[in-house]
Amino acid sequence: MILSPTTESDIVAAISDARAKRTSLAIQGGGTRKNLGRPAQAERTLSLAAMDGIVFYEPAEMVFCARAGTPVATIEKMLAERGQMLPFEPMDHRRLYGGAGAPTIGAVAACNISGPRRISHGAARDSLIGLKLVNGAGESIKTGGRVMKNVTGLDLVKLSSGAFGALGVLTEATFKALPRPETSATLIIRNLDDSRAIAALSQALGSPFEVSGAAHLPAGAGAPEARTLLRVENFKSSVDYRLGELRKLVGGDIVLADDETRALWRDIGDCAMFAAPDDRAVWRISTAPSRGPDLVRLVQKGGAVAHFFDWGGGLIWLAVDAADDAREKDVRAATAACGGHATLVRAPDELRARIDVFQPLPEPMMKLSRAIKTSFDPDGILNPGRMYAGV
């Protein structure tokens, strides 16, 4: 059963009804990310798709507020018309999962969806400055606001971002935008192995030249030869200057212009290298960049994997055979050894129901998480089990 509220009071009513009937609700935006996380364990689906529309957009303040079901594409178009953009380049999961539907801004906020610019401009949660949500008790809660600097009270904005709808049904999200850079370019260094590539990325990220994308695609990931990629974005003369300085620092022989740069980083952010119909299981691992190559080597000891790096080496995308446990033991052991966290982003429902999709938390953290969940959703009706069993 799918419920399609159009107002906040519809949501309050749906939650009250679910509480009374002791049923649970799966929260959904455009439905493009329903394979992200553990399979929903809910009798009903609450779709926010009809809760759409821009609440306000103040270009001079670089701030907008949209209802949760507003398509990301609508927002990106609105911002582009005023020379602005979402700073954090949200990933579009349709490449990975296939399927139709429109990704929504509410899901971007709820799941903290970011892309390659995460390293220089922060995650979605860093640009998210205000939220309205309805908690599991059916109460309308406002947190944050519409100004960037705000330390008034506990930051429930960040707590709710990345909670995958388990703490509340987001109804409105307010984000900070940024000016869209005049142009961009990518410097490519060819044929580096993983370790040398990550060292080059670290050197570039430790330079004053404001690298806004730093990825390494080993041989076979989109091209026969390994490519180490650095993106700069600014006005034309600055981009030219920075490319020149970066070449002096780390070498590199090919430069991609603005159009190609946009397409390439879209592919990296959306994980196009493992795009459907490829049905291998996909892991997304965050670690300290310098330990990225070691982490991959540790997983490789247990069998072949395809991989590439973003975030200067700190974000590892791994594609593995989806059979058995999708190499869960190898991935968890390597992550434990190197530090970081691993999420099983793509795998059959059956597998995602059976093993941990998100990084298992130590008991004191689980205890806090359960207490927080209860504080928002006393009856556990919102997206139960989407992140962790029992939360």
Partner: protein, 497 residues
């Protein structure tokens, strides 16, 4: 008022405690705890060596207030643990004893965030002040929480790196306090505030449990507890270690002074710069009185004939700075800028910033003051500034305005005589009126100083009862008995357990 002598010190203590004039209420101390003071001190002495435990009245006096010096309470005792393990032992014991705890960094809070209460033990992080690890490949530093903000940047400066958040008190304030308050600074327009620059913390919960939240990687699995803890004003736990991001310094930085006839034209210029898609690394605003006070102190060459001053800083290579400045100057000219002065040397640049960063201290030499910290949408800057003058004048007081204009974070410094309780009350009332206005125009009560005790009772103006109850339930998930810093942030009345 920062350098108040002993006589004045004592007088304030009496006036705040002994008269009904002081507006901010403190909860009555628990007589059962006060009666057990000797026993509690003996218990603490069994857990930490003598140099980590402060019990004499004279020495406790050092910890009785912070930078909100009009209020003070003598703590029951002060513990300065040397490690996470020691912090954990002490907190677990106090938890079992049902004794309240007030965490403390360097005590530079302007909102009273570190002011103790008589039935509480202060736990300070000052003996945990080492930098543990610096890693340039991953651009991070792991530090003990008592290290100062500037201490991190100083340690990596020679290698061309820095830690971005730069509150005015950065010489003294600790990372623990920065995390507690989610501190900002002048350069957060480009680099963000504490929450955007910390990757992980080690934190001791009230019951002594030690948790590692985040790490040396980006983001984390599970709920964003790091985002929740940063800015939680010491109500969820005591942070003993942090992993922070290091950034590479720009090739060059150039602050430029723009003098305007009126505050209106300066504020309109700020909105126009941002509207043109230009984000300078900092945009600081001073009104006429602030210019006079800061210039007299720092001799930075601020234009004394200007009605308002903007310090706009750009970064990058010489050509990049030049290109950005050309655009900014053109916009400023549209708004009738009278003086444009670029710093010609590193020394001049440092002087320009010295004047701005010493604004609070310099004002303190002229008069006692309270500093408000509301944020407003930048389109509302002019309106709120004019209303601020009107409000403060209506109480017969003076106000100097110095603030982070790029992000709308205002800092009216309301001047008054701390020895005149009636005047103090007027100053506080004026501050409250200004903060209510900030909320009414779409802003918030505090942009970077925190709620503390100062703005606690205004929270109901920004949040509904349901909003606050949700925050308090989250708080209680960490500290069910409300033992940690309990007199702060939330109105004393209507608290949900």
């Amino acid at each position: 008022m920062h350098d108040a002598g002993a006589a004045c010190f004592l007088h304030v203590a009496i006036s705040a405690m002994g008269t009904a004039m002081s507006a901010i209420a403190f909860p009555s101390p628990d007589p059962a705890i006060l009666a057990r003071r000797d026993e509690i001190v003996v218990g603490l002495a069994a857990l930490v060596p003598p140099e980590c435990l402060i019990t004499s009245v004279d020495e406790r006096r050092v910890y009785e207030t912070d930078a909100l010096t009009a209020y003070r309470r003598l703590p029951l005792a002060v513990v300065l643990p040397r490690s996470t393990e020691e912090t954990s032992k002490v907190m677990a014991w106090l938890h079992n004893q049902g004794v309240k705890v007030v965490p403390r960094g360097a005590g530079t809070s302007l909102s009273g965030g570190a002011i103790p209460q008589e039935d509480a033990v202060v736990i300070g992080v000052s003996k945990m002040a080492r930098i543990l690890d610096i890693d340039y490949a991953d651009r991070i530093a792991r530090v003990q929480a008592g290290v100062t903000n500037l201490g991190i940047s100083d340690a990596v400066m020679a290698d061309g790196f820095f830690y971005a958040p730069d509150p005015s008190s950065q010489l003294a304030c600790t990372i623990a306090g920065n995390i507690g308050m989610n501190s900002g600074g002048a350069h957060c327009l480009k680099y963000g505030v504490t929450t955007n620059n910390v990757l992980g913390v080690k934190m001791v919960l009230m019951d002594g449990t030690v948790v590692d939240i985040g790490g040396d990687w980006l983001d984390a699995s599970g709920y964003d507890l790091l985002g929740l803890v940063i800015g939680s004003e010491g109500q969820l736990g005591i942070v003993t270690e942090a992993t922070v991001r290091l950034l590479r310094k720009a090739e060059g930085a150039r602050p430029v002074l723009f003098g305007f006839e009126t505050s209106e034209s300066a504020a309109a210029c700020v909105a126009d710069i941002i509207g043109h898609g230009i984000i300078p690394v900092a945009m600081e605003f001073m009104d006429k009185l602030a210019i006079e006070i800061c210039e007299a102190f720092a001799h930075a060459g601020y234009p004394l004939d200007a009605g308002a001053l903007l310090i706009v800083e750009v970064e990058g290579s010489d050509d990049e700075m030049e290109a950005q400045l050309q655009k900014i100057v053109a916009i400023a000219q549209k708004h009738g800028v009278k003086t444009v002065r670029e710093s010609q040397s590193a020394l001049e640049a440092a002087l320009i910033w010295k004047g701005r960063k010493s604004a609070f201290g310099a004002t303190g030499r002229v008069a006692d003051y309270i500093c408000m910290d509301g944020t407003v949408p930048t389109s509302q800057l002019v309106r709120v500034l004019n209303e601020t003058y009107r409000i403060v004048e209506s109480y017969g007081l003076r106000v100097a305005n110095v603030f982070h204009a790029g992000d709308g974070n205002m800092h009216p410094l309301i001047m008054y005589n701390v020895n005149d309780p009636a005047e103090q009350e007027k100053a506080e009332k004026a501050g409250e009126d200004i903060l209510r206005l900030c909320v009414d125009v779409g802003g918030c009560l505090t942009g970077e100083h925190g709620v503390g005790i100062e703005k606690r009772d205004l929270m109901t103006h920004q949040f509904t009862a349901a909003d606050l109850a949700q925050q308090m339930r989250v708080r209680a998930a960490f500290d069910r008995d409300w033992l940690l810093n309990p007199a702060k942030v939330f109105p004393l009345e209507g608290r949900a357990a």
